[in-house]
Symmetry: C2
Subunit: 347 residues, 2 copies
């Protein structure tokens, strides 16, 4: 691994300290062979999210999408642990490859992770000429790093991920995703993204990518106004941010708030894009959205990418599977029910 890792204790916030003081047990990184395979046995070690469903199936249920569930057939549980922040599970699924689950919510599957990782990265980076300095908040699996690394103009990639267990688990079980950590331009900091951004030099980044989980767990603050203000401050004039922004089909209320906040804070352009990711977070509905904003300065027209990605120059990750310039532009075309709401807030 070429990436530099810094344990940023100065970035810890109260909830993190509490967890430390409690000496919360962190599960071993060894493969947990006593975990139930897909044979339907109930053991005391079975993750909670396995118990309420078909034996041998993982089921994703959340107050974020009441009344529905998405289930994948489990071949074998490969890892289960409890970090300072969340429950972490890795299982081998029958048809989606290995699956990473945080607090009961699917974060990535080997089969479809390409769509989310490519879109959240290339939507912002292909919208500005010559990005050099990029910050990734969250994204501990390394997939966004893999995608940022495709851009030859990039000289420095800072990442701040709150949960070291996510990084470790990804390196162990998802080598094709965690390959992103091997890029020598990557500086990994384990710490809180909110604090990290507060301490970041003003106007220092060309792009910030916020690859977070839902606003009900450790990522809650990443959807709030002070965080967006820190992002805007850390960006250079005409710099861009892309944040995971929930699903049109489920969370128009959350999206409406995010758009309003962004409109107040980002004085350049404010846009919402969406794409299809079968199992990705907020994903029961197979759709995930992104907020794309720019700060005051050189104009950014997100709908017309100016910085096409040269696939052949990529050292890691192979050819792009999902992203292309047409999909980029198309992702900003919204269904009528969402267009009305979002355009009234964004303009």
């Amino acid at each position: 691994m070429d990436a530099k890792e810094a344990s940023a204790t100065d970035l810890k916030r109260p909830r993190e300290e509490e967890a430390d003081n409690n000496n919360t047990a962190v599960a071993s990184m060894e493969t947990d062979n006593s975990a139930p395979a897909a044979n339907g046995e109930q053991t005391t070690k079975e993750p909670a999210c396995f118990s309420s469903v078909i034996p041998g199936w993982f089921s994703e249920m959340s107050p974020m999408w009441p009344g529905e569930a998405h289930s994948l057939k489990v071949e074998k549980v490969l890892f289960q642990g409890k970090s300072d922040y969340q429950d972490v599970i890795v299982f081998q699924s029958a048809t989606y490859g290995k699956v990473l689950v945080l607090d009961g919510v699917i974060q990535l599957t080997e089969r479809d992770e390409c769509a989310y990782q490519e879109m959240i990265t290339h939507l912002p980076l292909c919208s500005i000429p010559n990005p050099k300095k990029v910050l990734v908040i969250g994204g501990g699996d390394g997939g966004v790093l893999r995608e940022v690394a495709r851009h030859a103009s990039v000289e420095q990639i800072d990442m701040c991920e709150i949960d070291k267990m996510v990084v470790d688990v990804s390196k162990q079980f998802f080598p094709d995703v965690a390959i992103g950590f091997e890029d020598p331009r990557v500086n990994l900091v384990i710490g809180d993204g909110v604090a990290y951004l507060k301490n970041a030099a003003e106007g220092s980044y060309d792009a910030v990518i916020v690859d977070s989980s839902d606003p009900i767990g450790p990522a809650k603050e990443l959807f709030e106004k002070p965080f967006f203000q820190s992002v805007a401050r850390a960006l250079r004039p005409g710099g861009v941010v892309c944040t995971q922004a929930e699903s049109l089909w489920l969370h128009m209320d959350i999206i409406e708030d995010i758009v309003s906040n962004c409109r107040e804070i980002f004085k350049g352009s404010v846009n919402y894009a969406w794409t299809s990711v079968p199992t990705y977070p907020r994903h029961v509905v197979g759709v995930i959205g992104f907020m794309l904003c720019s700060t005051e300065g050189p104009e950014v027209d997100f709908k017309h990418p100016v910085n096409p990605i040269d696939d052949s120059s990529s050292k890691s990750g192979g050819p792009l599977k999902f992203y292309n310039a047409e999909i980029h532009s198309a992702s900003f075309c919204l269904p009528s029910f969402a267009k009305k709401v979002i355009e009234s807030k964004a303009n």
Copy 2:
């Protein structure tokens, strides 16, 4: 109801006759109050698809998408019956309104039916000037009729649906969808779409819309070459067809075959479009695709709609919720993994 209904016994094929000879019991249209509500009780009358999952939940599992399931919380089962062709269930869900299920697969929910119905209808009808005569194969819930009826230029709407129970159930439980049957331009024939098209006058339709279920039940033949040949024959020169064409994420093999067949048969243009429909058929992944083809004749550029829909002229159905001209064009932009395969077959 203004629509004319014809019982087309001459259109029956062997499998339909067999079913008749067996005197297959057709369930009463009365609300089945003995069916289990969301209390987890197992009764002998519980639909098979309810038994293998969380008690009180409906779960959608199919050989079409092995290893995964989509589940909705059931408030109350409103109807369950067995037609000559398939199992038919209607239930009240906790968060998606009423849901229609055929052979264990969700066909529509009140919450998101707009997306599928609007796209499968307006993609073809907005791509040609002045459509007058339209044929709908399948679509027994009436939602496509509701959408076709928005087009003031249309003078005649023929529909051939194989399963009368679907029509009856929709009229009873989904009045906002079945409202399509009330349009006086509609001629409803209960019969087999394959036979109907064989008997249709050559060159008689401006557009054919095939709103079918998956290619493993009664709709199997609607995905095969002879059917597409009949469609092409029934269309006028430069006429268009739109068929439900599965999900990119699950069924690239099926899609590849359909595209190849269409390329051979339709001498105009051949295109694949896709959109997001959280729960709609093939749908675990929240994505559904459409094949859009035109016959030899006046050129049809599906990506640039020439016949914008005048929302205000619609008598039924209220304003469009999903479709707009931007979404129309955007739906033809494919992810890289699909683009390669489809473009190599389509051109």
